[in-house]
């Protein structure tokens, strides 16, 4: 592959976009994995109960809140 093609602005932009998408995908996948274990304790039914779906949404948002707190805590240690 021609290096100049890889370095072109268009290609850089494309790679950055894909990287960002991959990170977001990864985050959703990871939180789904974690929150599934926390919130779905019974055998999966034909639809989520309202408490299960609320738990999933809360779980994801609290995980983010928590990571902010932890990040701050670490920054204050330096």
């Amino acid at each position: 592959m021609d290096n100049s093609a890889l370095n072109s602005a268009q290609m850089q932009q494309f790679l950055n976009q894909e990287k960002e998408k991959a990170m977001l995908n990864e985050m959703v996948a990871k939180l789904t994995n974690v929150c599934w274990d926390k919130c779905i304790t019974s055998t999966p039914g034909s639809k989520f109960s309202s408490s299960e779906s609320a738990c999933l949404a809360n779980c994801a948002q609290r995980y983010l809140d928590m990571s902010v707190i932890i990040m701050k805590r670490f920054q204050s240690m330096q």
Binding site: A5, F14, V28, W36, L56
Partner: protein, 88 residues
Amino acid sequence: MDSFTSSASGAGSSQFSNEEFMDKLKLQLAQAYAQEFLETVTGKCFEKCITKPGSSLSGSESSCVSRCVDRYIEATGIIGRALFSAQR
């Protein structure tokens, strides 16, 4: 993967256009993501539905598995919306 390394080194002749490369990369990323998702769902639903493995999959186990897969997909949607719509 092979297809593009081999043609990329192919005798210096026709190299890929950017567009071709982008399409291939997107396809491979999508495949990798689907593969990972499949593995995760298989693991989660095995845990939930096959609690005592018998000599064959029972009817209730297989219906549990299909409900589980549907719910896992739904859960992924709920999490995605919780992260990216409402507050941020």
